[in-house]
Subunit: 155 residues, 2 copies
């Protein structure tokens, strides 16, 4: 089984920007979400992927397939109404790990989330000074939920 | 866009069996269903496909991708609880068209549905004598709904 092991945090200030290596604009659409399973389309300019994620907190089952970008684009436009989001992902190395800092746009403007993928759930993580509260497993902050949100979650 | 153009009917007797050419056992699991969009996995013994269908009646948008059977099997087992079905599909030629007669099993035993794919929505269809009521667009009879049903729909 594919497993994604990931911890997620709210970002509290912009000091990460001076350490960012590169960035990429992502458009995501959710075809359907049910019982903690989500089926996501992601376009990154270079290609497209269809990703299935299962329920979980730090560890989630994940299966991913490359698909033709034109078909992903069409499905996002026609089958994901009310279940789409855009964000810019910045890669920021810290403490030997590769952090991804996602700056959301549109209705989610103002929301910035940092994610770090780990080789094991208990892998030590040196928290960067620009992260705040951990939101791993908080379903309000899952991208699948944010895609339908009218504003960033509060509290 | 991929479009599936299909009409569906309840099957009223077993006289189609003498005309059936071959059959195949299918196992299907639905990863998620939302707003008329369904994401289906299908295993047929020879291979596996992931199929996205959109809302519709006779015509439905459809996108399909081959995926590794081992991954489909694992996802059906672990991510599709309560959203699975098994059936045997028989191919029955009639009136120049290729009919598919699905004999459902398990909780759906007794239900037999005939489907025919058409080149155009208004393509003439010579109805075989063994079909009864048309159920095209009747969402209770959609496989995505049947996968969660505890018995065949009534009425």
């Amino acid at each position: 089984m594919g497993v994604e092991i990931e911890r997620r945090f709210l970002v509290t200030d912009a000091s990460w920007r001076s350490e960012a290596l590169h960035r990429q604009h992502l458009v995501q659409g959710y075809l359907a979400r049910e019982d903690g399973v989500s089926v996501r389309l992601r376009l990154n300019g270079a290609g497209a992927r269809l990703t299935i994620k299962g329920p979980g907190g730090v560890c989630r089952p994940e299966f991913e397939y490359a698909i033709p970008p034109a078909e992903a684009k069409e499905m996002i436009a026609t089958l994901c109404a009310g279940r789409r989001l855009g964000k810019t992902r910045h890669i920021v190395p810290h403490g030997g790990l590769r952090w991804e800092v996602d700056v959301f746009e549109g209705a989610l403007a103002g929301l910035v989330i940092a994610e770090v993928e780990l080789p094991a759930p208990d892998h030590p993580v040196a928290l960067p000074p620009w992260v705040g509260r951990e939101i791993t497993g908080d379903r309000r902050y899952a991208n699948a939920a944010l895609a339908s949100a009218e504003a960033p979650p509060q509290g």
